[in-house]
Amino acid sequence: MKAADVSYLSEMLRRRAGLSIANAKSRLIETRLAPVMRRFGFKDAGALVAELRNGHDALARAVTEAMTINESSFFRDRAGFARFQETILPDILRHRERTRRLRIWCAACASGQEAYSIAMILQDMKLRAGGWTIDIVATDISSEMIARAEQGLYSHFEVQRGLPIRRLVENFTQEGAGWRIGESLRRMVTFRQFNLLDSYGWLEDIDAVFCCNVLIYFDNKTKAGVLDRMAEVLGPDGYLILGPVETANGHSSEFVPAKDMPGVFVKARRVPLRAAV
């Protein structure tokens, strides 16, 4: 790809999705664009970028979706899910004992494995039988990913990464060569296409935001904006759960690290008990 085309693409992705591809190699970009080129009938990336310059919105949307990273697996970051189950969730439940309402947001859910992993944990706890209302809201910038997540149909390879065999047997049904998530888990999650740069007005009083391995693709300004807005929709006792090696430090003054939990943050204005000292 020509440097000018990479530069145009880079600026467009930064503007549309906050994505930073400044260090990406041209070949990697072309590999990711290949399905879009086939779909829209372009013979090379140069022709595709030329059409983007003409303001082709559907193409720009498809390119943006293609350039986002959609890697996901069930119970990815095993230690992080264990901390969520053993420490974070009990704390949230204590704070929500009166309202018995739990609201979790997976901010970049890709094909849905993270959201369904959370649903499995919550289903194990039989909270609904105890009168709890549970909302798991799962969003992704890619409408294609959201459609996949809603289907809840996973390949033989996808269900073997991170998912214990007992959970597969208990929570999925076999369908052709794939495995479909059970209806009760499916109903626990609401999927919605959403760009993290857009307004968060429809989200409120969230107890935990999962935003794992997403911020690393944003430039610093975008990171700060996203974190500040997440703080606004997170309840006072809520948790922000990033990837284990990610941090909000230096990007937002709204969060401080939770004690002994890598990648987990609480609101800075919260009582200091649970913040690292």
Binding site: R78, H156, F157, Q160, R161, G162, P164, I165, R166, L168, V169, Q174
Partner: protein, 121 residues
């Protein structure tokens, strides 16, 4: 170093699987059917057994039931590694004392994920 016994009647599958688990830091040994595997376990009980289902002489499930009756036979982690990919077979394996289940075809990532699942990597 943890030890892994790979039980499969396909020489190619044994070779590929042994290479993957060796890369993950295990010492490896092989058996081509359940009878040979049981003899191997009587000599040295491995930490983990990757076990095919359909084999001549003694199938994987017969081997597993016999293994669990052996002295110290409860100790090895047993991970089925098979083309028998339906829920009925998986349920039967778990009922017989299997710890995990890998559906073929598999790759290095799946073996690593499953061994992590049982706390061995």
């Amino acid at each position: 170093m943890k030890s892994c016994l790979v039980v499969d009647d396909s020489r190619v599958v044994r070779k590929v699987t042994c290479r993957i688990v060796a890369d993950l830091g295990f010492s490896t040994s092989e058996a081509e059917d359940g009878v040979t595997a049981l003899e191997a376990c009587r000599g040295h009980m491995p930490d983990v057994i990757l076990l095919d289902w359909s084999m001549p002489n003694m199938t994987g499930i017969e081997f597993l039931r016999a293994l669990r009756r052996e002295r110290d036979g409860e100790r090895p982690v047993v991970v089925f590694c098979t083309t028998e990919n339906d829920i009925a077979h998986i349920t039967e394996a778990l009922g017989a004392g299997a710890n995990e289940y890998i559906m073929k075809p598999f790759d290095r990532g799946i073996i690593e994920a499953k061994l992590a699942e049982v706390g061995l990597v």
